[in-house]
């Protein structure tokens, strides 16, 4: 901080610490290459002059700098001992599981069944391209690119050369280089030709799609649908979703997108009515958020909370939502139960499970286990009486016992032990109830009852 001086700028301008750019390297490189060529017009060994270039390429660091010492530390163990690991085959074997929308299927329009065919000998003979840098083979070029050294793609003008370059990049497994080549191909090839060639090159195609995605130029099927998330205004979002309906989705997904559109359409209508919040229920329980863009089940819950009992004809009624979106009975009961329990409408809760048998008796039936019902009721602080009724409906005696004990439904515990003919447990339980209470007397009566055939 204290070192900040007004002459900093001058320091900068005259500094030997000139910033690193590709151009600099190119310049230096050009000079070196040219002088070498002047001395000797034959092709130079690449590795040798790479080393020369390296000494100055990394930001032109002066010896003694931190970086220099950093490098020294890292490589001070350098020696000539041979430790060579073998090359292994990295070719992919099995193709990956495709999603419903495989990448290649998206470019069907550009498909050309003719396979690529070119011979290596189509590459120009060396004598024709003696010019500086242009004599680098595709292999040398991509390797230089990987190492961050100077390179030039200008010489790859024929389609064959471009494709050789691309295939070479892919075989190197360096995504950075693959994308760099693809950017060059994008600039120098027509879209149709590029896609046609990418069709038969899965790895390159995936890199290209990802690149376009990151650049925000990518509008594949699902990506197009995803675009709706960027639209804030609900009316425009709805219209956009409507326009998505004509996209070629799979049958299942088409139905989901249709649902999405219908749901938002409904939510807009409901929101417009409820925003004013005139009905009593809204004053009593003010809404915490708008219903727009909420999931379907949240919307159903909302409707069970604020619009319960409305006739099926209204858009906001639970019955209408249930029917329109084909909601299963189990899902409906769970959601309605949650909403009505929250409001402590125990009467509504009861009627959710009431069914009449052919004799006209009401019986309680549920598509979800009654232990789950108890769980939900308990979380909503249901009174003991209500809780007890549902604990008693749990089929499995073990589960019933454990929940009855947990929620102190003494009568149920006692009756269940009686049904299980477990006298010992009854005696144990007697120790847990208040002496002289109704429960205590009931247990006392039972354990003295000789009519019961106890199992212990």
């Amino acid at each position: 901080m204290s070192r900040a001086k007004p002459e900093d700028d001058e320091y900068w301008n005259s500094s030997k610490f000139s910033a690193f750019t590709f151009d600099d390297e190119d310049d230096e490189f050009t000079k070196m290459k040219e002088s070498k060529r002047a001395v000797n017009s034959i092709l130079v060994d690449d590795d040798d002059d790479d080393d020369d270039v390296e000494k100055v390429s990394w930001s032109g660091e002066p010896i003694g700098s931190i970086s220099w010492s950093v490098k020294e530390t890292a490589s001070s163990f350098r020696s000539s001992g041979e430790q060579s690991f073998p090359k292994i085959d990295t070719a992919p074997s099995l193709p990956k599981q495709g999603s419903g929308y495989s990448l290649s299927s998206l470019f069907k329009a550009f498909t050309d069944t003719s396979t690529r065919a070119y011979a290596p000998e189509l590459r120009k003979p060396k004598s024709e391209c003696k010019d500086y840098m242009s004599d680098w083979s595709p292999e040398e070029t991509v390797r230089r690119m990987r190492k961050g050294r100077a390179y030039s793609l200008e010489r790859f003008r024929s389609l064959q050369d471009k494709l050789l370059l691309l295939d070479e990049a892919v075989s190197l497994h360096d995504g950075n280089v693959i994308t760099a080549v693809l950017i060059y191909l994008k600039r120098s090839l027509s879209k149709e030709i590029l896609f046609r060639e990418l069709m038969v090159r899965e790895v390159a195609l995936r890199h290209y799609v990802h690149y376009l995605k990151e650049m925000g130029e990518q509008k594949l099927l699902l990506m197009q649908y995803k675009e709706h998330l960027n639209i804030k205004d609900e009316g425009r979002r709805r219209d956009f979703l409507k326009s998505c309906l004509s996209l070629p989705f799979s049958q299942d997904d088409a139905m989901h997108v249709q649902d999405h559109y219908t749901l938002l359409e409904r939510q807009i209508i409901i929101e417009a009515n409820d925003k004013r919040g005139e009905a009593e229920i809204f004053r009593k329980y003010p809404r915490k958020a708008s219903i727009l863009n909420m999931p379907l089940i949240t919307t159903l819950y909302y409707s069970c909370f604020y619009h319960y009992g409305e006739p099926e004809g209204t858009f906001s009624s639970p019955a209408n939502i249930r029917k329109t979106f084909r909601i299963s009975e189990k899902q409906y009961i769970l959601t309605a139960l949650g909403a009505r329990a929250k409001l402590k409408s125990w009467f509504d809760v009861d009627s959710l499970f009431n069914t009449k048998n052919w004799l006209g008796y009401t019986k309680k039936r549920s598509p979800i286990g009654f232990h789950r019902v108890v769980d939900i009721l308990q979380k909503n602080n249901a009174p003991a009486q209500v809780l007890q009724e549902y604990v008693n409906l749990i089929d499995d005696p073990e589960l019933r016992l454990s929940l009855a004990q947990k929620y102190k439904c003494h009568d149920i515990v006692i009756d269940t032990y009686k049904d299980l003919k477990d006298r010992q447990q009854l005696i144990v339980y007697q120790g847990k109830v208040e002496r002289g209470s109704h429960e205590d007397r009931k247990i006392e009566e039972l354990i003295n009852n000789m009519q019961i055939r106890w199992k212990n």
């Binding site: 910033a19 020696s79 990987r146 760099a180 899902q331 769970l334």
Partner: protein
């Protein structure tokens, strides 16, 4: 409690050198822009940067103000702007906008971008397209490896997972190879490299070529063996609920770069406390690998010991007291503080995890792993979705169902997907498409049920037909084959036997004795066999891509210290979990190895699935 294991376990290499190298290089790069400058840092680089340098270091090198990169117009008045970022197109576009805005306003500044760990051509192409190439200088900060603990090194590249396995972009292969090259140059030469997975192969090749380009050495190796493994070889393990202390803390509080923030619920005060979680924390070090059921007992014992130590003060004379205060008290106070934090954290975990819901969740996971009462599991998952509880847990269970059953029955797939979309939002269509592409959540193909049937019923079909069937379907989906793998590798200990979690007998203890993590089992097997021989059937079921190579001639072996041969570096490509690290530590103690885990990032079920969500813009 902390098992002593074999006495002859070798010492771990010192990785603090990696931090020093990274810091020195950063300082050098900052000096490339002499004079006062404002520094903009990518949000996800802040914690890693904190581990190797501090604000004073930056200020010493004339960094004036620090800003977080937020992709919004900037307010800085400095004449020089430096951007320390990951190579992302969005960020570079934003920087281009900053530069172009300045140009339009006639404002002159110097700009420097430091990409870490490397720059990408695509980023420079953006600078070129936006017309600012040349106005901005670019540098690379080769900060590949951040040691999080004595035996954990992270590349801190969580995006590696999605970009490599979902998008199919190999841009990070070179970085992983570079990280390996750095370790090799400092702690090598390695004598053996084993690996499995397509990315592992590429990383090996990338590393091999980078080494060929550069140095060769004969220093005394500190690390002998290397194991590279792709995350997609084993998706099941990271999707299971963690029940070992360190894993649980990560699942619940999210450990970030080796540090966790305990909120008021843990500290029982009104403020949050950030704590480093590593072997320096003596209390944590003793419980990190323990099954949670043992942790409370240990902590209360520890509390009693502490009390006794404090009580020593009674009856001391003044000299003794003086010695006590100067020698012991500080340590005791430190321990006291840590102890109360971990007790607070355990209480908080207990509160969350002893709920009935969690018990049922664990039961379902175990049933799925065992292949027991699968229909009950399906209805549990359905109800979980219907109740709109944890979107991620629902997804996790769906993926576990798919992975253990080789896909969902078509009718289940359709119905569960529809209900999921209803509960959590239809935009999750994209999430499902991603999961399908990854093979994490798929529909059973008609043919697959046949092969499963066939393997169950036995030789009803003759070999020839079976061969044809296999041929026909091997080209189809990538199957997880979990049942068969689990049988062959004995991943599920026999049920019914008591499993004493205090005295673990195998790596299954990290999942309450219900499941040996596949990833770690593979490592154990390969090290035991010194290669893949005898595991052909297994690798076939894992879709191949296994390799085992050794470097150098026989003559070099005499020079190699025996100790280094028992130090094994395991590199997880796509992330690993704390539970897997605990399992490897256990394996090391049992077999006299020391494992060093290098990972592209620490992951868990939440992070893994969140990386694949596509429900936001």
């Amino acid at each position: 409690m902390a098992q002593s294991g074999r006495r002859d376990a070798p010492e771990l290499p010192d990785f603090s050198l990696l931090k020093r190298l990274a810091r020195d290089q950063l300082i050098y790069l900052l000096e490339q822009l002499p004079g006062r400058k404002d520094l903009f840092i990518d949000a996800d680089l802040m914690s890693p940067l904190d581990r190797i340098a501090n604000v004073t270091t930056l200020k010493q090198h004339e960094v004036d103000k620090l800003y977080k990169v937020e992709l919004k117009p900037i307010v800085s008045t400095a004449d020089q702007l430096c951007f320390l970022i990951r190579p992302r197109i969005q960020t570079v576009k934003w920087i281009s906008d900053v530069v172009n805005l300045d140009k339009a306003a006639g404002r002159l500044r110097r700009y420097k971008i430091i990409f870490t760990p490397q720059k990408f051509y695509a980023c420079e192409a953006v600078l070129e397209e936006q017309g600012v190439f040349g106005d901005v200088t670019c540098d690379e900060w080769a900060f590949y490896l951040l040691p999080l603990d004595d035996d954990i090194i992270s590349l801190e590249l969580p995006e590696f997972f999605r970009e490599n396995f979902l998008e199919g972009d190999q841009r990070w292969v070179g970085a992983a190879g570079g990280a390996l090259r750095l370790i090799h140059s400092l702690y090598g030469p390695f004598s053996k490299v084993y690996g499995i997975g397509q990315c592992a192969k590429m990383v090996y090749e990338s590393w091999r070529e980078q080494v060929e380009d550069g140095e060769q050495k004969t220093q005394q190796p500190e690390i002998g063996n290397v194991f590279l493994i792709d995350r997609d070889v084993d998706f099941i393990t990271p999707l299971c609920s963690q029940v070992v202390y360190e894993g649980l803390v990560d699942d619940i509080f999210r450990i970030k770069c080796g540090s966790v923030e305990f909120g008021p619920e843990v500290t029982s005060s009104d403020k949050s406390i950030k704590v480093m979680l590593n072997s320096q924390d003596k209390v944590f070090n003793e419980i990190r690998n323990e099954h949670f059921s043992n942790v409370f007992g240990f902590l209360s014992q520890k509390a009693r010991n502490l009390q006794t130590a404090y009580d020593k003060r009674r009856g001391m004379d003044i000299q003794q007291m003086k010695a006590f205060v100067s020698e012991e008290l500080k340590g005791l106070k430190q321990e006291h503080r840590l102890l109360s934090l971990h007790i607070g954290a355990s209480e908080c975990i207990m509160k969350k995890k002893t709920k009935q819901d969690f018990q049922e969740l664990l039961k379902t996971e175990h049933s799925l792993l065992e292949g027991f009462e699968v229909r009950e599991c399906v209805s549990f998952i359905e109800e979980h979705i219907n109740r709109q509880i944890s979107m991620i847990d629902s997804l996790r269970l769906l993926c576990l169902l798919s992975l253990t059953e080789n896909g969902l029955l078509p009718k289940d797939y359709r119905s569960l997907k529809a209900q999921y979309l209803q509960s959590y939002g239809i935009e999750h269509l994209l999430t499902f498409s991603n999961l399908k592409q990854m093979g994490l959540l798929v529909e059973q193909q008609p043919g697959e049920t046949l092969t499963v049937m066939e393997s169950k019923v036995g030789k009803l079909v003759n070999d020839k037909t079976a061969g044809k069937l296999t041929d026909a379907f091997s080209s189809l989906a990538k199957k997880s084959n979990f049942r068969a793998l689990s049988k062959r590798l004995v991943l599920i200990p026999k049920s019914g036997e008591e499993y004493d979690l205090r005295v673990p007998r195998d790596m299954a203890y990290i999942f309450s004795g219900a499941y040996v993590p596949l990833s770690c089992k593979l490592i154990e097997q390969v090290l035991e066999r010194d290669g893949w021989t005898g595991l052909e059937e297994i690798t076939r079921m894992l879709n191949g891509h296994e390799f085992a190579v050794s470097g150098g001639a026989n003559g070099t072996e005499s020079r190699i210290k025996a100790d280094s041969q028992r130090i094994v570096l395991v590199m997880f490509l796509g992330g690993c979990t704390y539970s897997e690290i605990s399992a490897l530590r256990f394996l090391g103690r049992e077999r006299g190895y020391k494992f060093i885990v290098v990972t592209t990032a620490i992951t868990n079920s939440g992070r893994l699935l969140e990386a694949l969500l596509d429900n936001h813009p």
